[in-house]
């Protein structure tokens, strides 16, 4: 186990296997966990650091999840609330894969349309679909523009 000098700031243990999500937008770590379906009743071993100093971002959050490697669709979801996040896949204490998150042009089945009148909020056999625009998420069915509280609408 390696540690940084406490006077230098962060102490956080490396993990043997799993995923480290670094450079999460400050304050979004708990939303990242929610997106990943991690709650108080699930069994993952977690380390969470919030509002830690970052040269690049000023403040950032970090989440380490032991024994779980994120799937691409999960990474896409994180991109919606933490576009600068970096995903590090760890095996046997070594980073075997390092990737940034990428916001796709179209996201399907990830965000629920806030418009109660939207056809995707019925029992029809379709997933929600949003076009990702600089000004927000545009529902491809009802044209609703989702600008704020995107995390609240992630399925």
């Amino acid at each position: 186990m390696t540690k940084k000098d406490p006077s230098g700031g962060l102490i956080i243990s490396p993990i043997k296997n799993g995923t480290v999500i670094d450079h999460i937008t400050a304050g979004e770590a708990l939303n990242v966990l929610r997106i990943l379906g991690i709650t108080g009743s699930t069994r993952e071993c977690l380390s969470i650091a919030t509002n830690v100093r970052s040269k690049r971002m000023g403040r950032k959050d970090v989440v380490k999840i032991e024994n779980r490697e994120l799937r691409t669709e999960e990474v896409d979801r994180i991109a919606l609330i933490a576009p600068q996040a970096k995903i590090n896949i760890i095996r046997d204490f070594r980073v075997v894969e390092k990737k940034g998150v990428e916001i796709p042009e179209i996201i399907r089945g990830v965000v629920r349309c806030p418009n109660p009148g939207c056809i995707t909020n019925t029992n029809e056999p379709v997933a929600s679909a949003f076009e990702v625009l600089p000004k927000g998420l545009h529902c491809l069915y009802c044209d609703w523009l989702l600008k704020d509280d995107i995390a609240e609408h992630i399925i």
């Binding site: 418009n115 009148g117 939207c118 056809i119 995707t120 019925t122 029992n123 029809e124 056999p125 379709v126 000004k135 927000g136 529902c139 491809l140 069915y141 009802c142 044209d143 609703w144 523009l145 600008k147």
Partner: protein
């Protein structure tokens, strides 16, 4: 295959082409344009008089036939069938589907499951592209659309016809004046989109301050069903009414349009003025819808 789902899907050249075609149908210059062996399914899951009847009339005038569902209660939706399944089934019966549905995005969904073209005849508070085409057609009968001043009055929040028309007018260099009672203003994201498209949008508190500057006044109905009680509805509904007195000093070419049905927004005395064009507008639904039906089924 060619679906007609949203005005957003159409460029100006598409609109102009369809309007030109409608003109040919109106003047009888397209006698060979027939759909004699074609059948259109009119699926109307919301009340409609003009839209449904004008589509049926258009199909008949083209020599084709139509079958219809006129309400949710008369369809298998009451048995729990999804719209997607209904569309798949009806695709096997007809050569095109005309859909009116209370949910926004229903026509887009239908186009994904249909194996025949789908025409959106109004989906919730969303889009109503065939209405927009006949609105444009009516304006174009009297004046070029480019560069005119158009006022949209009424429920601009939920009014799908106002949303579709505003988006279409943004392709014609029109200056848009929005006039809506408190709480029923044009949604901010649509106003933003219009401005991003380069449209000048001017918001007004009442129609009196702008009516003399308009070439077109497009009046819409306040939808009673949106209000929690009848008192609050009447407060808003009585906030505007077009009367002959209000029309003194307006431009000679002013055209008053209304997608109908009206519910008191326009005094019947206005019907006899040269400005009233809403019944012609409704009549124009037939050639415009003939053009649409022919385009998707030819």
């Amino acid at each position: 295959m060619y679906h007609i789902i949203s005005i957003r899907d159409l460029e100006r050249k598409d609109l102009d082409y369809l309007l030109d075609r409608a003109r040919e149908f109106e003047t009888g210059n397209c006698r060979s344009c027939r759909l004699e062996d074609k059948l259109a399914a009119l699926l109307f899951f919301e009340p409609s008089t003009r839209t449904r009847m004008s589509f049926a009339t258009a199909m008949a005038r083209l020599g084709g036939r139509s079958i219809s569902v006129d309400s949710v209660e008369a369809s298998s939706i009451v048995k729990g069938e999804t719209l997607a399944d209904t569309i798949r089934v009806v695709s096997g019966y007809a050569d095109a589907i005309v859909l009116r549905h209370p949910k926004e995005g229903a026509a887009r969904l239908a186009s994904e499951f249909a194996t025949v073209p789908v025409i959106n005849a109004g989906d919730g508070a969303g889009q109503h592209p065939s209405q927009t085409l006949l609105d444009l057609y009516t304006i174009r009968q009297s004046m070029p659309v480019d560069g005119i001043d158009v006022g949209l009055l009424g429920d601009l929040r939920y009014g799908r016809t106002a949303h579709s028309l505003a988006l279409a007018l943004s392709l014609y260099g029109v200056t848009l004046h929005t006039i809506a009672p408190g709480g029923l203003e044009m949604p901010a994201n649509i106003t933003l989109e219009l401005r991003e498209r380069g449209m000048e949008v001017i918001e007004h508190e009442n129609v009196e301050e702008v009516i003399r500057d308009l070439d077109v006044l497009y009046v819409t109905r306040i939808q009673r069903e949106r209000f929690p009680d009848s008192a609050s509805f009447y407060n808003v509904a009585s906030s505007y009414r077009i009367t002959p007195d209000l029309l003194s000093g307006v431009r000679d070419n002013l055209m008053i349009l209304h997608p109908l049905p009206r519910a008191g927004e326009i005094d019947p005395a206005v019907d006899n003025t040269p400005y009233a064009r809403y019944f012609e507008q409704a009549k124009n639904g037939v050639p415009v819808r003939m053009a649409l039906l022919h385009e998707v089924m030819k």
